[in-house]
Symmetry: C2
Subunit: 486 residues, 2 copies
Amino acid sequence: MTDSQDLREEARHQDQDELMQHLKEVQQVLSRHKLVESLVHRQDMPRHELVEGLVHKQHLVELQKKLDELHPADIAYILEALPLDERLLVWDLVKADRDGEILLEVSDAVRESLIETMAPAELVAAAEQLDADELADLAPDLPSEVIDDVFRSLDSEEREQLRAAMSYPEGSVGALMDFDLVSVREDVTLEVVLRYLRRFEELPDQTDQLFVVDRDEQLRGVLPLDVLLVNDPEIEVAALMQTDALSLQPEDDADHAAQAFERYDLVSAPVVDGQGRLVGRVTVNAVLDHIRDEAEADQLAQAGLKEEEDIFASVWDSVKNRWQWLAINLVTAFIASRVIGAFEGSIEKLVALAALMPIVAGIGGNSGNQTITMIVRAIALGQVGTDSERRLYRKEAAVAVVNGLIWGGLLGLIAWWLYDDFRLGAVMTAAMTLNLLVAAAVGVAIPMTLQRLGRDPAMGSSVMITAVTDSGGFFIFLGLATLFLL
Amino acid sequence: MTDSQDLREEARHQDQDELMQHLKEVQQVLSRHKLVESLVHRQDMPRHELVEGLVHKQHLVELQKKLDELHPADIAYILEALPLDERLLVWDLVKADRDGEILLEVSDAVRESLIETMAPAELVAAAEQLDADELADLAPDLPSEVIDDVFRSLDSEEREQLRAAMSYPEGSVGALMDFDLVSVREDVTLEVVLRYLRRFEELPDQTDQLFVVDRDEQLRGVLPLDVLLVNDPEIEVAALMQTDALSLQPEDDADHAAQAFERYDLVSAPVVDGQGRLVGRVTVNAVLDHIRDEAEADQLAQAGLKEEEDIFASVWDSVKNRWQWLAINLVTAFIASRVIGAFEGSIEKLVALAALMPIVAGIGGNSGNQTITMIVRAIALGQVGTDSERRLYRKEAAVAVVNGLIWGGLLGLIAWWLYDDFRLGAVMTAAMTLNLLVAAAVGVAIPMTLQRLGRDPAMGSSVMITAVTDSGGFFIFLGLATLFLL
């Protein structure tokens, strides 16, 4: 029976407005503090040093008192909202025994900025406050000598857990798993279980069920706390435990686990190894973090950012975070530019083409992105089988033709009116419709192909579709114009 | 003391692979069923009617048996993955007493397609199975006469709850709230609470704490189940209840509540009215659904889709879902086109401009989207105050200058080499740098302004930034070229 548990001091929960208020107060103290410093420095007189020291201290004591009252997650929030110099000042004031928890809560970028300033001994102390699964989350950001030191300080069970937790790849259930669980035997009565629980100081966070295992740690079922509470204490666990609840394996896809939590409104789920032995559990708060991270990663990738960015990062860090996709975009834009270059002769003869061509390309890109978003969502929900693929191509093609005729037709009329050239309008309509068809076909094909190759169907698909509809749109429009107008 | 609770039959939890397998089996039965139908119809002989009837029945019985074993969420999943005709066939086979729960689980688009086929009496029966908060979620999709009928069938407490639940706007805590909670008094011992709980058949889903209220329903604190379980039954509730836990108000922003659930790893939180009376609770599964919906809405809005789309929706429904943003995009593309039109004389003289201008516009758009994504995220996390705004402008401008010099410089060299014109290269570099500065300024200004106007800072910002960087890029590049090259 595992009885690992954290004994964390409870701090008051803040609602968003209160939290903002705390942030503002911290900022005020910091700016008063800075003002005093700058005043004293400007006058640069030795007799002020004493005063500075006193005021300085007073501000910092005030700040420290405030920080001590806050939940680690709230301190993390405040650290993220502060520029680097103020952030490090606040970080120094945080009690050392809370460092570990706070490092867990901040974003990767901010965590890096904090870890950089800490001595190895401080890092070891911070890491030692954490559970194995938390340590595994932090480990990639820690220097290897710190990890080694921490590792040596663990007992053999914890070492085994840490080794296991670090071995699971990101995106697997193993990476979400923790080891804080309470397990019981099936041949005891509820009364015995209740007495057993009273020996705990508290139960692990988000304990909504106990796990029923046999002597070989094989998972036999789960006993929800509410079942334990509403039933007669004389009944045996075996008679009440649920055997049909979801159990996960460490290798399972974390996304699938998250979907199961949503489908079945779970708070926790047991994780068993290949031999059916209970090795850990996944809780809904790990799932919530996972969902938030995934949604964020998608948004960042779509905009061409490598990772979340500390808004107070240095200019150079920001440039590094953003250059890759700008470079890719530059290459695709260059290719599109060369497509236009090939038709320079046509543009010279009919300069209206230069003004109209970005419309054809732009609408194609927008429409292709709509298709991709819809398909990516359907793939994520597992709704796209091989049967439906052909159907999807047909439908998207039909939507493209309708849109091409409506919007392309409208633009054709406008082009006709602007340049007083009926044939130019007709070419415009035809080019729009064709480019929308290209966008539809490629919009279905890209995520489906990525999916088949085992890649994330959303990854980079927006850049790819825009590349195709830009170059394709220019080629179709200028090509048709060259064929029919010149 | 409220003791409302659902007595739902528990179905086996499926992992993702099992669920896919079920879907495949359903699809196989459906296609066998269709094959028989089409064979019989083709031969069109009356003596086959009997056989058809038998085979038909056999398939449907098989299907029904399979469906009965599945969890409502899993049936919803299967319904979403089926084309309309098959979806309705399966829907007919689902036991009527599960209709309500399944309607809650399917997406809005699919729900519409199901409700359309149901008679008012069926809808009333389905709605009557639901709790007030669930009913409030379903209500907007139901015909008003159905709502009226259901309303008449409720007792006065439920009516009050339904009226309250329907009165809260989407995006408020009230809209996430449910009324399934267990409350206790502070002046009783844990023993009394334990005896009281044994009178329940089961506790409401996701009950991790009991709510402590006084005679006027004023919330006094919360009693987590683990506190109840680990402590001596002789102790009074008042001595153990937590008074510093988060409590929400129905008018609070649902996003803020969701962030609090993430920060503090909550499973449930009490909701109190302005007078401090307990009116309901929010559970983590409502929060999970909210976060998923929000992330999805963001992605859809970014791609220019009005709402999630049933992938088997008709072509016409799809066109309607997508037209608005295409139209906006058309207008912005048209404006950009007219900017180019104003410089047709310049392009006629130097046709290379036509080939190079999309690069300037495209890179600007990409870079602006990166800035916006970062700012929107920072705003969502509440990290952007007025102090940091100036700092952000400065930093983004610096990033723009660095990128402009690096990438603009590179492109300038390429343009120089391609067209053997040094001054063209210099104009290219200058235009890129200026357009990146525009992108940076507007990329910070758009979400900040939307935020100040009380709008969603992400809404439509991608379309706006692209409009600015397209028209701006064309104007800057062609304008500089006209001034310096011609």
